[in-house]
Amino acid sequence: MAVNVKELMKEKKSNRSLQTFTEKAAPAFFLVCSIVSILATIGIVLTLLIETITFFTRVPFMEFITGTTWWPFGENPSFGILPLISGTLLITVIAMIVAIPFGLASAIYLSEFASEKVRKVVKPILEILAGIPTIVYGFFALTFVTPLLQVFISDLPIFNALSAGGIVGVMIIPMIASLSEDAMSSVPNSMREGALAMGSTRLEVALKVVVPAALSGIISSFVLGISRAIGETMIVSVAAGSTPTLTLDVTESIQTMTGYIVQVVLGDASYGTTTYYSIYAVGMTLFLFTLLMNLLSQYISRRFKEDY
């Protein structure tokens, strides 16, 4: 019965060529996979860049960044992006006014006050909130929140910045809550115990010890939230309207950069028109804004990372 394993293994060793091949081919294949991610970035940048350059051969760069009228249709088009930027920022500001207090308060509650039982219930609910498709939020903003607001603000138009921005904020709450809570949970317990032992209340520990210690993580979650608000598309194209207006009035109908892109692709602007190219110039602006925010957030969390 004796099986000679060693002999058998030696035999198999002689035909190892396939194995040597896979040994080398596997990492090569995985490298190619990870290069696709780089290609995607290059593709995004090149796509935006090339079409944007074409756009700027037709519309002067200065007119684009300083113009206060965005009217891409009809006889006399005008491509000043400031109204789209102001619309985007208006939505972002409203969203952050909702998301930062509620998000941060939720994070403080979950990390510093809530019992394990409460946490186990609340966290999955926040996850569900984070997983709801933005089109559903858009529907909700348009068909529920706006009519509700119209009860209080009688002349509120159907499409307005307030309702869209508010719901964008609700969408961002779970993100800020969970990232900030992660930052606060990583503050070591010894710091809390030190403060509690001197007679601090829970609140003082939370606000004077934990929040300052986790500040870099908290701020970087805010910045990521801003980036999300800037890039949010469906809520604003459903509920904020499509009238590019240079305004700070939250009750007006406005248009964001993302909303404009959707409007044009739906309107089937024919290939080669200035309007067609304009979506790339707007997309480029959008991309730069969000890239800046993402890099800023990474910088904050890395540069000011507390080492315990």
């Binding site: 019965m1 099986v3 394993v5 060693k6 058998l8 293994m9 035999e11 198999k12 060793k13």
Partner: protein, 273 residues
């Protein structure tokens, strides 16, 4: 670390008379140095590991004994910053030579680790992992290997009816014997053991020690242990490591009863460590 008066307790428990003429070595280590980044962990290690004997490596925590045993199958190279110099010869072949494939070295040198580390697979699949890796696919042969290895590891009777159950369902001691069976399945010449009983209860420890005595008939064994009684009970030769250096390397009974070096004596009498 134990404080028992080692030097009195030592009696030769191995049944085979040490054969002074048989100097055949399986490993000869010469002038071996090792660094983790800038920290030197081993200094000029020089020792020979004999065939079909149990060689124990003792010393306080952090003395480099685990690093040393993991150098013998080049597993230490999993740490990215590691640098080495000197020579380790296995069967007169330099193990760091590019001609000697690391996979071949590790095929003939088995290893058992500090904590049992079965794969999250069935008992059967754990044992055949090695043979399958080396191209043995026939079910009939694999079945035989499983039975033979598990019997050698003294685990067969306990698991023969549940070979397809997950290995994580076994007790710690059984898992460790499964890991030994897994290592025996590819019929190595040498078995390296890195504190194989430190995570086990006393009864499982005894079983593993008995097993080591059994296995040395067919295999050469190097065992790292922080338990000096264990070294005294099961080994033929013992090397004492301190701060990355081999302080003394001797026959086990000699080292424990009449050490040459003062530091060895201090250690085995429990003055430090």
């Amino acid at each position: 670390m134990t404080n028992a008066p080692e030097n009195k307790q030592v009696t030769i428990t191995n049944t085979i008379e040490p054969d002074k003429e048989d100097k055949k070595t399986i490993y000869s280590i010469d002038n071996f140095n090792l660094w983790y980044g800038d920290n030197q962990a081993l200094y000029d290690v020089q020792l020979d590991i004999p065939v079909n004997k149990v060689t124990a490596i003792i010393g306080p925590s952090g003395c480099g004994k685990s690093t040393f045993i993991k150098s013998l199958n080049r597993l230490v190279e999993l740490v990215p910053s590691v640098k080495m110099s000197g020579s380790i010869k296995y069967n007169d072949k330099e193990i760091f030579s590019p001609k000697f494939k690391v996979e071949d070295l590790r095929t003939s040198v088995g290893m058992v680790f500090q904590n049992p580390n079965p794969f999250p697979k069935s008992i059967y699949e754990n044992v055949v992992y090695g043979p399958k890796t080396h191209g043995i696919k026939k079910k009939k042969i694999l079945d035989e290997i499983v039975e033979k290895s598990l019997k050698e590891a003294a685990l067969w009777d306990e698991v023969k009816d549940r070979l397809n159950e997950n290995a994580f369902g076994l007790s710690g001691g059984q898992q460790q014997r499964l890991c030994i069976a897994r290592c025996l399945a590819i019929e190595p010449e040498v078995i390296l053991m890195d504190e194989p009983t430190s995570a086990l209860d006393p009864i499982s420890t005894t079983r593993i020690e008995e097993l080591v005595q059994e296995l040395k008939k067919d295999y050469s064994i190097a065992i790292v242990t922080h338990n000096m009684q264990q070294a005294a009970r099961i080994s033929d030769r013992t090397a004492f490591f301190l701060n990355g250096e081999v302080i003394e390397y001797n026959d086990t009974d000699k080292l424990f009863s009449n050490p040459d070096d003062k530091r060895t004596e201090d250690y085995i009498t429990g003055r430090f460590g």
